[in-house]
Symmetry: D2
Subunit: 319 residues, 4 copies
């Protein structure tokens, strides 16, 4: 192996730039050459590929988003698209690849590995919804952005003694809601992994008020329902002066936290090490604070497990 390509795919996540930097610097440190591929698989097929030097990734570790851009490209699911991509790899002399993105982007990586181009996947998504890793790159930053918003909303909630329903990202996974709910001191966390009863929520809010609680914050994962819908259902049980707010796209951006930068740096370096050992078709994770890797096929069968202890913890702390 002499030349590594890097691409980012799917939704952008804070820390992707830190991962690109780590892959680039580690590879250069080992005497390899590195090429950046713009716009994910779309750029691979189109040949939007260019050499990366050490200084190209300077002053990037702290930036949100991905300077290699990202794009959806469903055409890569078909063999025709893959073969075009391989043609470009040949043309640029790229032997191996690092793919940073959600597990959807691992399918393409696995196909390339099967065609003889080892590809290693890095979990880059704010949703934390990838199997065999406790944390994804970008998750800690997203939670941080959410709690900064919750801290601001709490000011208003307290000043007006109101109930706020705060919708956070997480279509399939409640991780952002669980972490930011506990860290934000929410009275209720509503996630797809646990059933909830709106009458009980209303009841808890009422009891909270009677106890003198100045604010009631409900953190709601978008996968359950829309914040407006939740608020309407809630209002059937009483006048809670409730307000709904959807935090939206701010959750994807921002300078990565220290945790995300360190995680991305570790994983990026490890990806190069694995490629050097001839590994391919594997995805990197962090489990019990140790770097691990698993066959991508196992990931497609696996299921991410959110830390539901946080759900129960919050029940006892939000009384």
């Amino acid at each position: 192996m002499k030349r590594i390509g890097i691409l980012t795919s799917g939704g952008d996540a804070p820390g992707m730039n830190a991962a690109i930097r780590a892959v680039t610097r580690r590879a250069l440190d080992k005497g390899l050459e590195v090429f950046g591929i713009n716009y994910g698989y779309a750029g691979l097929v189109a040949g939007d590929i260019f050499p990366l030097t050490a200084s190209d990734v300077s002053d990037r570790i702290q930036r949100g988003g991905t300077f290699l851009y990202s794009a959806r490209y469903p055409e890569f699911a078909k063999e025709e698209g893959q073969l075009k991509g391989i043609e470009q790899l040949k043309k640029f002399g790229i032997d191996a690849l690092v793919v940073i993105g959600g597990d959807g982007s691992y399918h393409g990586a696995l196909r390339l590995t099967e065609h003889g181009y080892n590809a290693v996947g890095l979990p880059g998504t704010i949703d934390n919804d990838i199997p065999y890793t406790d944390f994804t790159i970008g998750f800690d930053t997203a939670v941080t952005t959410v709690i900064e918003s919750i801290d601001k909303i709490r000011d208003t909630a307290t000043s007006h003694e109101r109930t706020f329903v705060i919708e956070v990202m997480g279509r399939g996974a409640g991780d952002i809601a669980l972490w930011s709910g506990v860290a934000g001191g929410a009275e209720e966390i509503v996630v797809p992994e646990r059933e909830f009863d709106i009458a009980q929520v209303a009841d808890r809010i009422k009891r909270g008020r009677e106890k003198g609680k100045k604010h009631m914050l409900v953190v709601l994962a978008e996968g359950v329902m829309h914040a407006d819908e939740f608020m309407e259902k809630l209002n059937e049980y009483g006048d809670f002066q409730a307000r709904a707010t959807v935090l939206g796209h701010v959750q994807r951006g921002g300078s990565p936290t220290a945790r995300d930068r360190v995680l991305a740096s570790k994983m990026g370096a490890y990806a190069v090490d694995l490629l050097e050992e001839g590994k391919g078709g594997v995805a990197i994770g962090i489990e019990n604070n140790q770097l691990t890797y698993h066959n991508m096929l196992d990931l497609f069968d696996g299921k991410h497990k959110p830390d539901l202890d946080l759900y129960d913890l919050n029940k006892s702390l939000s009384r």
Copy 2:
């Protein structure tokens, strides 16, 4: 005058606590006594009134919201409500009042002044929509919160080369949109004070793309229309990969900026000085960097003028 009361009214704004602190400390420094009134006019009528010491307002200057709470209380528009309030002022021996809030809350203050209880108003609202002041307490913090969000959204917008429609607060006034649009480097600012043509917006976005712009940010004041509606109209003119986001209630909260803390401190101290001079029925402003005051009647007739030079400035800078 021996005893001053303070209340906050209407929507909460960052810097209200700094203003309460300044009123309290200045009054104590002049040998006066100070009483806090919870929940605005509602608390005045209910007698939810308590003495404030210097240490009660310690460690408050940096907190968002208002620790005196705020509440809507339309009943105070009627004389019956006012008389109940005056009864409480008598009971607690309060001679004069500082009212912090939007100009809606000045009506009550004017009535109390007419009944012999001098009241001075401080402009506390994030919207900056009060006549005879260049800035209101809370506005700078709200703009700061908005540009932090814009900076985050820009990461994603750039990574995916998308157009974002970002709805910010400001029902009647475009100030937040104007300031955050210029400071956020938005391609378009849409405010109630200026007409706009969606076809032209679409055209500018197209031309921006052709010139290689990686992102297009439209900052939209809520008073114009909802972000979703704007996005739908925009999509009639082409595929802009547009996303709409409503920043919502986070704009009201958060630790006040240095500017808002200093402005609130100056205005709070000045309010006590004016009361000491026997002034009442007046509202404080900052005009051309100088503290001023105007009769509240003039404010009700007046109209806030946003800095529309910013609109024109942005046109030439967003090319």
Copy 3:
């Protein structure tokens, strides 16, 4: 066990308030009573003790410092001090204690346990220098504060093409330097756990400049030497336009990060659970992402191990 006391001891750390909240709420949820003890062991001996309700710890999770105050109190090392403390525990009917602080504060906790008052320790210190835990409460926030400073200094370093020596906290342990060095993209990390050669550092800086590096950041743990001294030694090897800066006390304060809030919440609840099981003289840790506890005697013999892989990682990423 019916009544739990809580105190914070040693240097304050962000997340201590979140831990106090968690202990209080969990204990109340289990039907126990909770008492706060001000000023650490000094307040215990003086009887500065008061009941804590659920609402006393409301709106605390996001605050830096400790609302129970902290103080040094070497007198508690002697039995005389301990007996006075026990008298107070008897007087207030407190059966068991949670002590939040560095491992120095565990000695007192162990003595109380030996006298029949079970005490559980929580690792609250920004330095991360406690054995048998991967992370202490406050460490993540301190690292976050440091990288925010590094990100700011990098602006100036780049604009003027200068070398900066940034001294961070950590007398005995290099953890803050290691994490913030990697996350801040430092060119050099200097920690007590690894030898360094100033001539080599100077050489690396020179080579970096030749390669076109716009800035050189050296992150230095205070335990090694003072930043000014380091800079002087460096200047013997050439003109690096070096500047030294000591981040200082800001590293102790600030609103805790999401990680620290969640860690403090988990540990605080776990402390109550352990006390309920009759455990005492033990300290809680998080190891490989799992909550654990160890006998305090083992901690006194143990030695904290920083993640020195980060040191080697940084060598290959800072080229």
Copy 4:
């Protein structure tokens, strides 16, 4: 006039990039060409000059520092240096210049104007120490950075009931100390413009403690003396558990605040307008919220006046 050059000179300040962007975009909008000059006057003499396009200044408004770099270059004080610079202006066909920096950098601008190359100065410095302007570009951001630090230090000061002496930038001018002292709720502000008596400071701290103040914060401008020296003097009057901290270089960096971005945008555009009107040898200011300009000769004779009302205000609010 067809072609404008831009350079930044002296210490970097947040908002310089926003100013460069505004100059560039405004000039392009008027059909002019724009050239960036790296490293201030040093780069002018060396011919380190390159064309700037609209997209070169994209995504810059939010960045700290200056992407045109800055450097000291005393050689430009001599005519020889100036003539070399003029040679380069001729070579690149540059007719006029915008110089962003402290008033020291205006001397070179005036010389160039005298040689027939109109130059307009923009006040870019965190110190706010330039005559004929109420605010300089970068000042608001520096104050913001300082109060974020003060807010963090207050956590520790409160938790341990300590006195902190916080040294902030400002060699000749006390502006940063005045604004951040008021905004940070400091008990004492010490600036070069006002005499102080250390015995009185000590006395005020003592009285504060007796009144139950949990913390005492002294904000000290570096121009008065070093924080350590102040602390030592203070300790002669009693045991204040005082700690000294020097905020240092972080004050120069960071993403500019909304205020600084708007101010830089306004001033940058105005500079182009003035050049177009044939003005040269003038410096732009903002006075009483209006853009103004003055002959540079007047600035050299003038003296910056800090807002000392803030000093007196703080006396009455910190009781």
